[in-house]
């Protein structure tokens, strides 16, 4: 049983349906040594299947850098950054969002 629950506030935005971004907060069981990615995996698997974060080919080693985002406002790799308390997860750049935490590639930002 988890000792505590943390509140993970996640940036949500689907440019095809949403006028503007919003935030959604999810309760996540805290596990010692968990990363931001551990929390996103928990949310996606157990709470909300609509959440998009770059996971389909993530490396979990910090080398593909596709999970680069902001944790409490600071740029960080979700897969390599530990979280210990309530946290805010946002994409690296709010202006180039493909969906939620997944950002556009430089080539497709104007599409």
């Amino acid at each position: 049983m988890p000792d505590k629950i943390i509140q993970v506030k996640v940036f949500r935005f689907d440019p095809s349906t949403d006028k503007e971004p919003r935030y959604q907060t999810y309760p996540v069981p805290y596990e010692s040594g968990m990363s931001a990615m551990t929390a996103l995996d928990y949310i996606y698997q157990n709470l909300d299947g609509t959440l998009a974060y770059y996971d389909h080919a993530g490396c979990d080693l910090g080398i593909c850098r596709r999970c680069l985002g902001r944790i409490n406002g600071q740029a960080a790799l979700f897969c390599q950054t530990r979280i210990k308390a309530d946290v805010i997860l946002e994409p690296a750049a709010n202006t180039r969002v493909l969906k939620d935490l997944v950002v556009c590639k430089p080539a497709d930002k104007d599409e």
Binding site: G49, C59, K105, D108
Partner: protein
């Protein structure tokens, strides 16, 4: 929605080393070549995360300007690979591996890979350096590259490859690929297991779709579990950093009672089985015995510490690979501090490499004209146990498969796929999006992954395999057809991708479990509790899985022998392992 069509000569499915090398070779053979990379270019699949060791015979390595081992020969290297594979190797593919390895290494050096260090039969570079070199070369050669895209299924027309249906993951658009030849280079299917050591994209679609298209697959029961993989903390779960440390620096494994359980085994086997890459086979087996006897850790492993090795000596041997205890972008200083202070970390076996796969001949042709396979997704040269490098494998095979595919495409006219075949694939692919209600893929997948990790672990028995097959049958009949996506928007729809992948994972797990049940002996990385011996009279055979009318049929095929005659008789598992270790030539090194 209209479907985008892309034409090419050779379509390469997979953006790891095998795929890149195949695309380069196809292009150099004069064909147009398009490579599909499921994730970021040169940063997805298993290749970039590899250590990465490239093995070849020591004399050739010496000729390339490294110390190597001048006394080595191709014959000695051949002997060692075949005995490490417990004679289950396709010896034609072993010959192809040995013959082509020097040229593949030479070109990598020409293309600018960085060598960290070398030993008798190997150079060690990094997966990143390797992939960067291949990407540069592919761009120079004029390979077309598509990122964040993957092949869902193949189109076969008149018995020949006509292309396939793919998905652009970012836009959610389906793509109709028209191609004269396809090289499958999709790697392993780590994602069917939890935990695993692979990147998140490896779901085995290439093997499964080749099987659906009529190609045979084989030796699926031989699944290498890397030993000493970190199981905790969650941020590092699945990392092989401790595996590398244990191989380079040594150390000590203990069970939950604090017993050094390797002491129960023959000291010779322990010495070879911990200091060489034999450890994947031996230590994973020994660890699973402890876990199954109830002496495992909370996460299903054992404990790893430095033992009585002085810290300075311990650290010195690993620090080339982990400068300042950094590995890729991982900061392992906390793990190092734990080990230094005499503490222990939780480690265990996790799925790492698939010895079996798509059946190919020595030209990397499958039984479907126009379909080729290379690298980990193919049934390769290693038999029942891989000790030598899969990096070498992906490159020697990729180069030949790509060349053959390029030459084949040059002599072929495009055959358009029938509209009805395409429509059927499209409907199947879109079904999870169309379903209004049903099951979300992720929770179903997690249950299957955990069950696969237990049931197809290095120690198996009929009871557990049958229970697993029953479970898979229920999932396949009752849950797979009901998978749906919560959101119907196609753009980066994770649930849609998961549903598409899940079908392939179930397919391969069923094939592997049936093959494991079929093989009533213990050999290499497959141990059956009821048959604790290598049966050289009955089982010097590959298990070939055919797929006809939606049904699996497992058959035995005699192993391909060219130079080294296999032994006879029944030999107890660990005794056979020891014999195979003792059969190795005198050339040193970790392989």
């Amino acid at each position: 929605m209209p479907i985008k069509t892309i034409r090419t000569d050779v379509l390469v499915a997979g953006g790891g080393g095998a795929g890149f090398r195949a695309a380069i070779a196809a292009r150099e053979a004069g064909a147009k070549a398009l490579l599909l990379s499921k994730g970021p270019l040169a940063r997805c699949g298993a290749s970039p995360m590899a250590g990465a060791d490239f093995t070849l015979d020591g004399r050739s390595l010496h000729k390339l300007g490294f110390p190597g081992a001048p006394g080595d020969t191709e014959e000695k290297f051949f002997n060692d690979i075949v005995t490490q594979g417990y004679y289950l190797n396709n010896q034609k593919l072993v010959e192809q591996y040995i013959r082509n390895a020097p040229a593949r290494l030479k070109e990598l050096l020409d293309w600018g890979i960085k060598v960290v260090f070398s030993e008798e039969r190997a150079i060690f570079t990094s997966g990143l350096s390797l992939m960067d070199a291949l990407l540069r070369r592919a761009r120079t050669a004029g390979v077309d590259l598509l990122e964040d895209a993957f092949l869902i299924d193949l189109l076969v027309e008149g018995g020949r490859i006509a292309g396939g249906l793919g998905l652009d993951i970012r836009t959610g658009e389906l793509i109709h690929f028209q191609a004269k030849a396809v090289v499958m280079a999709t790697g392993g299917w780590h994602k069917a297991f939890w935990p695993n050591t692979g990147m998140r994209d490896l779901s085995g679609e290439g093997i499964a779709m080749a099987h659906r298209a009529g190609a045979d697959i084989g030796n699926l029961e031989f699944i290498t579990f890397c030993c000493n993989v970190l199981l905790s903390p969650p941020v590092w779960r699945g990392s092989i950093a401790t595996y590398i440390t244990s191989l380079l620096s040594g150390g000590e494994l203990t069970n939950s009672n604090g017993e050094r359980f390797l002491e129960k085994f023959d000291p010779y086997v322990v010495e070879k089985g911990t200091s060489m890459e034999w450890n994947k086979g031996f230590v994973s087996f020994a660890t699973m015995k402890e876990v199954r006897e109830g002496k495992g850790t909370p996460n299903g492993g054992v404990y790893y510490g430095k033992g009585d090795i002085p810290w300075e000596a311990f650290e010195k041997k690993s620090i080339d690979i982990f400068p300042n205890w950094k590995y890729k972008a991982m900061d392992l200083t906390e793990m190092a501090e734990t080990l230094k202070s005499g503490g222990r970390v939780e480690v265990g076996p996790a799925v790492e490499y698939f010895d079996g796969g798509i059946v190919v001949n020595e030209n990397f042709e499958t039984s479907v004209p126009g379909l080729y396979a290379a690298g980990e997704c193919a049934l390769g040269p290693f038999g029942s146990n891989r000790v030598c490098s899969a990096i070498t494998e992906m490159l020697v095979q990729g180069a030949d498969a790509g060349k053959k595919a390029g030459e084949y495409a040059g002599g072929m006219k495009e055959i358009p796929a029938g509209a009805s075949a395409f429509q059927a694939l499209r409907e199947k692919a879109e079904a999870p999006l169309q379903r209004k209600e049903g099951l979300r893929p992720a929770p179903v997948r997690r249950r299957v992954q955990e069950m696969a990790h237990k049931s197809l672990s290095p120690i198996r028995n009929a009871e557990e395999l049958l229970a697993f097959l029953g479970f898979l049958d229920r999932v396949s009949k009752e849950e797979l057809p009901r998978l749906t996506t919560t959101s119907k928007i196609r753009v980066y729809n994770k649930e849609w991708i998961d549903a598409l992948e899940f079908d392939n994972m179930i397919h391969l797990l069923q094939a592997a479990a049936q093959s494991a049940l079929f093989r009533t002996e213990s050999r290499g990385v497959h141990y059956r509790e009821e048959y604790p011996y290598a049966d050289n009279d009955q089982w010097l055979k590959e298990s070939i899985v055919k797929f006809k009318g939606g049904v699996f049929q497992v058959e035995a095929r005699p192993v391909t022998v060219t130079a080294l005659t296999p032994p006879q008789g029944r030999v107890p598992f660990l005794e056979m392992m020891k014999k195979m270790m003792q059969s190795r030539s005198e050339i040193g090194g970790h392989h």
